[in-house]
Amino acid sequence: MLKVDTEKCTGCGECEEVCTFGAICVQNDVAVVDQDACTLCGICVDACPEGALELHDEERLLATDLSSWKGIWVVAECRSGVFAPVTFELLAKSRVLADKLSTDVTAVLMGHEIESRAQELILHGADRVLVIDHPELATFTDEVYGNILADLAKKERPEIILAGATAAGRSYIPRVATILNTGLTADCTGLDVRAEDRALLQTRPAFGGNLLATIVCPGHRPQMATVRPHVMRASAPDPGRKGDVIRILPGENLLGHRVRVLESVKEQAEGPNLSEADVIVTAGRGFEQEKNVELARELADLLGGTVGATRAAVDAGWLSGRSQIGQTGVTVSPKLYMACGVSGAIQHIVGMQGSEIIVAINKDAEAPIFDVTTYGLVGDVKEILPLLIRSIRKKRGL
């Protein structure tokens, strides 16, 4: 329980300001706690300049009583009615991990008018689905999504929470971990469990993939990770699977937010988005002119992929900044990466070297890109790409 030392409290309101759950407010110059709304996160305890707030010890002990946290949660992500593929990838992986731990898999589904989608999550591996369906969840906000998930986790005590390392996931999952005062490992590419201590072994790249690290969260629960899309494999839906769908009404105190969504714009994407694409054809300086970039588009279309850009191609105005791959752009790991007219500056290489097959086409046989290449072609992209496009068309009988 959160206690206020009324002798020390000056009624300054710092605690009220930092409480994301509206669980504390100043009345008659003293902080008053709404114990039902309080999630015992302790953020206010840190914020109080007078040291007037205290979490009782038994609560802290309880929070670290590891064996009372059970089950694996997968946070489902559904954008404009479409599940992010990583949701199914996580369910398949969790199924394997849960079997090793002899526990179950729960999917958490937040959104508006979304309950009908719960069944898909069961077919893909969930044993039960917690559905939080509310108009306030129609658009994504860090505060509401984060507060609801943190509150649920406090009450239900899962031992593991996994979410996609998507734009939304990487934004609000850190909020949840901070509120829960637990560890979070970002953008994992490998997950396993150690049965003897139920540790989640989280493998992730650092330094743009030049270093891999395995990370554990020994003394805190839940163990939390965001997982890079497109690394793990989803399993086919199993029509025989059964599970429970549990509808949960979010408390009013969880629905407040200070960031308002004025507009959500979908940009005309050139094929699938970079982080989920199987094939990426990247255009670099070697294209020389904007009109030649059309060749990269044509090849990408032909292979069902999307077009990426180097910094140079973005600076030249040929492609938008959101296509940029590398250190200050996006990190990708498709099945096939085609670096066309790309010299291979380290800042670019760190963003793509995890790709399965890398093909490079460059006039300069000494270009550093060839150091990370599976197949290298020496030549001018303007000559090679038309040949390649024609040859693939022919193979397909087009």
């Binding site: 860090d142 734009a167 850190p174 979070l184 395995t214 969260c217 714009v265 250190q327 599976t374 390649l388």
Partner: protein, 264 residues
């Protein structure tokens, strides 16, 4: 406008080498630079200061040599720099880092805006910005690539990039933002700025100065632990296709076919 910009000193990607046997970063000969994204956070802060006045404070947690990163930020126009440095801060994960940074920002007094780069290029976690915002009780927006302040001087409109496009968002300061490189083009240091930076004193705050609890900082305050690191090997897979362009293309298409790439 009181603005705090959090920066991190990171190894320069151009000089970084890895020890494949030990699975670690080779520290010798590595140059330290300001994290590339943080230049854009600083530039955003400086532009707001240019328009609305106020003060830009740069804050960094790191070893004593991180002072040079703060001095570089001063040479670009930041008003003051503060280094959070203490052996006890070492080994901090994002949970301990955000605790420490939050302590320092609270000590600085009221702030209108906290700016961070989207992520640091060494850890690549992108977790410090959101975690820090929670500890400070601030609303936050990540991955910002355009921003404007309305006439009231308090309301901001922001563009946040996501997989499908972007959102236009509105919030009132105080707030925290993490920014993308496409937000702006960082300025270069001026001669005057460089001279000012050279003479500037950078205060160093340690754990005691911050009033930080020992079990909340550094390794002791970290929930996560690294159990092993290794350098991935991109096994000798390089094959240069030979011959004139037609031959190379033929060989590539053959390999594509073998790999099942043309089946789709």
């Amino acid at each position: 406008m009181n603005i705090v910009v959090c920066i991190k000193q990171v190894p320069d990607a151009k000089t970084v080498r890895f020890n494949t046997e030990k699975g670690t970063l080779v520290r010798e000969g590595v140059e330290a630079v300001i994290n590339p994204f943080d230049f854009h956070a600083l530039e955003a802060g400086l532009q707001l200061k240019d328009t609305y006045g106020g003060e830009v404070t740069v804050l960094s947690m790191g070893p004593p040599q991180a002072e040079s990163a703060l001095k570089e930020a001063l040479s670009l126009g930041a008003d003051k720099g503060i280094l959070l440095s203490d052996r006890a801060f070492a080994g901090a994960d994002t949970l301990a880092t955000t605790y420490t940074l939050a302590k320092a920002i609270k000590k600085l007094g009221p702030v209108d805006l906290v700016l961070c780069g989207k992520q640091a290029i060494d850890g690549d976690t992108a977790q410090v910005g959101p975690g820090l915002a929670v500890r400070l009780g601030l609303p936050y927006v990540t991955c910002v690539n355009a921003l404007s302040v309305l006439d009231d001087g308090k309301t901001m409109h922001l563009r946040r990039i996501n997989e499908d496009g972007y959102d236009i968002l509105e919030l009132e300061m105080p707030a925290l933002l993490t920014v993308l490189a496409s937000l702006n083009t960082p300025r270069l240091p001026s001669l005057k700025g460089k001279m000012r930076a050279r003479k500037a004193e950078i205060p160093v705050w340690d754990a005691r100065e911050l009033g930080a609890e020992p079990d909340r900082i550094g390794l002791a305050g970290s929930a996560t632990q690294v159990v092993s690191t290794w350098v991935p090997t991109f096994e000798a897979r390089r094959e240069m296709l030979e011959g004139p362009a037609e031959e190379q293309v033929k060989a590539l298409v053959f390999r594509f076919k073998e790999a099942g790439i043309l089946n789709a």
